[in-house]
Amino acid sequence: MSTKEKKIRVLIAKPGLDSHDRGAKIVARALRDAGMEVIYTGLRQTPEQIAETALQEDADVIGLSILSGAHTTLFPRVMQLLRKKGMSDVMVFAGGIIPEEDIPALKKAGIKEVFGPGTPTSTLVEFVKNNVS
C-alpha cells in the first residue's frame, strides 16, 4: 500500500532577481504530468526561503531555475543551508542560463546535474525518477 501512495515531491524554486519563470513553469508542468507533486514557490526566492520551504514540505527533490547569473553564489548557499537543516539526502538539480565552465564547481557544491536551454522535458522526468533517493 505504501509504495502505491508514495509520490515524489519536487520543489521548483527560482532564486535570484530575474523574473523569467517560463522555464520553471514548463518543468513544473512536465513533472506534474509525470505524476509527481510539484510545489511551486514563485519568483525571487532567497536561499533561506528555498531551504525552509523544502524542509516544511518534506521535498524529495529540488529544482532550481536561474537566469540572472548569480548561480555561483546562490546555489552553493542553498546547498549549505540544506546540509545545516539535515537535508543532505535531498536531490538538487538546476536549469537556466548557466555557462559550461561554471558547472564543475556547482556539481562539486552538491548540485546533481545542470540542464541548459533546449533540454527535452522527457530527459528531465527520466533524470528525476532515476535519481530521487
Binding site: M1, S2, E5, K6, K7, R9, A28, R29, L31, R32, D33, A34, G35, M36, E37, V38, I39, Y40, T41, G42, Q45, T46, E48, Q49, E52, T53, L55, Q56, E57, D58, K85, G86, M87
Partner: protein
C-alpha cells in the same frame, strides 16, 4: 515533534499522507495531545483570493503573538496523479517566520475539497503546539463541504461578480459558513455582493445559535483584516460557551464512522479477494446478472457467516 521540530513534523505528515505502516501508531501517539488549537477552515471558489487572504490572516495572528500552522490543499490530476501545488506563491512572506509552518497537500483524488490526510496533518500541527491552524481547501465548488468535519470556524471566501442572489440561496457551500468574506473589496460591486449574501442569510429559518456574519476585505490593501481576525475570535468565544462541546462530539462520531468505514471495507474486500469471490461477483455485475446493491448484500451475508 512535540517540541515543534520542523523536520520531524514534515516527516510525520508524509508518513500519514502516504499511509505507511507506522501511520496508525503515530496517530495514536499524537491524538491525546490534540484538541488545543483553534482550527479555521478557509474555503470558496478558485480565484476568490483564499491563499492571499490566508497570508494576511496569518500575519495578523502573528502580530497578536499566536503561532500558526497552515495546510493548503490543491487538486491532484485524475489522469496522472500529479499535482501543481501553488498556494505558497501567495504566502512567501511567511516562509522564514519561525512561528509559522506551511504544508502544501494534494487531494490525491479524495473528494470533498480536502485530502484524506488533511485532518491528521492538522492534528500533527496541533500536537506540535501551534495556537491556530488554518486549513485551506481546494478552489471549491458548491458541494465541496468536507472542511466542516475538520475545522471549528468555517470561512467562505467569495469575490464580487461571481454570482447573483440566486446563487446565494443554493445549498452546500452557502450553508457551511460561520463567516462570509467578500474579498477583493477594493473592486466595484463589492457592496452589492455583501448585500446579496446578507439577504440570502436573512432567509435562514433554522436557528443555529450563531448568526453568520458577512465581512468585506481586501487582501491586497489589508482593508478589513483586523476586523476579520476579531470576528474569528468572536466565533471562537461563542463556541466556547457550549457549542464547541456539541461540535466536538459530532466530529468524534464522524471520525469514528470514517475509521470504521475504512477498516470494514478494507477487511471485507481483502477477505473476498483471497477467496476469489471478488472477481466472480464483479463478472456477474458486468454481465448484468446481478446489480451492485444485491451483490453487496450477498457478499456481506457470506462474510458474516464466515465470521460467526
Amino acid at each position: 515533534m512535540f517540541r515543534g521540530e520542523k523536520r520531524a513534523i514534515a516527516k510525520i505528515i508524509s508518513i500519514i499522507e502516504n499511509n505507511e505502516p507506522q501511520a496508525q501508531k503515530i496517530i495514536s501517539l499524537i491524538y491525546p495531545r490534540t484538541g488545543k488549537a483553534h482550527i479555521i477552515g478557509i474555503t470558496g471558489p478558485p480565484g476568490a483570493g483564499k491563499s492571499t487572504l490566508v497570508e494576511k490572516l496569518a500575519k495578523e495572528l502573528r502580530n497578536r503573538k499566536k503561532t500558526v500552522g497552515i495546510v493548503a490543499v490543491d487538486p491532484s490530476s485524475p489522469f496522472t496523479g500529479g499535482a501543481f501545488l501553488g498556494d505558497r506563491v501567495r504566502m512567501q512572506d511567511l516562509t522564514t517566520d519561525e512561528g509559522v509552518y506551511i504544508r502544501s497537500m494534494a487531494t490525491r483524488n479524495h473528494p470533498g475539497g480536502l485530502a484524506r490526510a488533511t485532518k491528521d496533518a492538522a492534528h500533527v500541527l496541533d500536537a506540535a503546539g501551534k495556537d491556530v491552524i488554518i486549513v485551506e481547501t481546494v478552489g471549491a465548488g458548491q458541494s465541496e463541504v468536507e472542511v466542516v468535519k475538520v475545522a471549528q470556524t468555517i470561512v467562505v471566501v467569495l469575490a464580487p461578480g461571481l454570482g447573483d442572489d440566486i446563487q446565494a440561496i443554493k445549498a452546500g457551500q452557502m450553508e457551511i459558513g460561520d463567516i462570509f468574506v467578500i474579498n477583493k473589496g477594493d473592486r466595484e460591486n463589492a457592496n452589492k455582493a455583501v448585500s446579496d449574501i446578507e439577504a440570502a442569510l436573512e432567509l435562514n429559518t433554522e436557528e443555529r445559535g450563531w448568526k453568520p456574519l458577512v465581512l468585506k476585505t481586501s487582501a491586497l490593501t489589508g482593508e478589513g483584516i483586523g476586523e476579520f481576525v476579531e470576528t474569528i475570535e468572536k466565533h471562537r468565544t461563542y463556541l466556547k460557551q457550549g457549542a464547541l462541546d456539541t461540535q466536538r462530539k459530532a466530529t468524534a462520531e464522524i471520525e469514528l464512522i470514517e475509521a470504521l468505514k475504512q477498516k470494514i471495507t478494507q477487511t471485507i474486500i481483502q477477505d473476498l479477494r483471497q477467496k476469489g469471490e471478488w472477481v466472480r461477483t464483479t463478472e456477474k455485475i458486468l454481465a448484468r446478472e446481478i446489480d451492485p446493491y444485491s451483490a453487496a448484500d450477498n457478499l456481506l451475508k457470506q462474510h458474516k457467516a464466515k465470521a460467526s
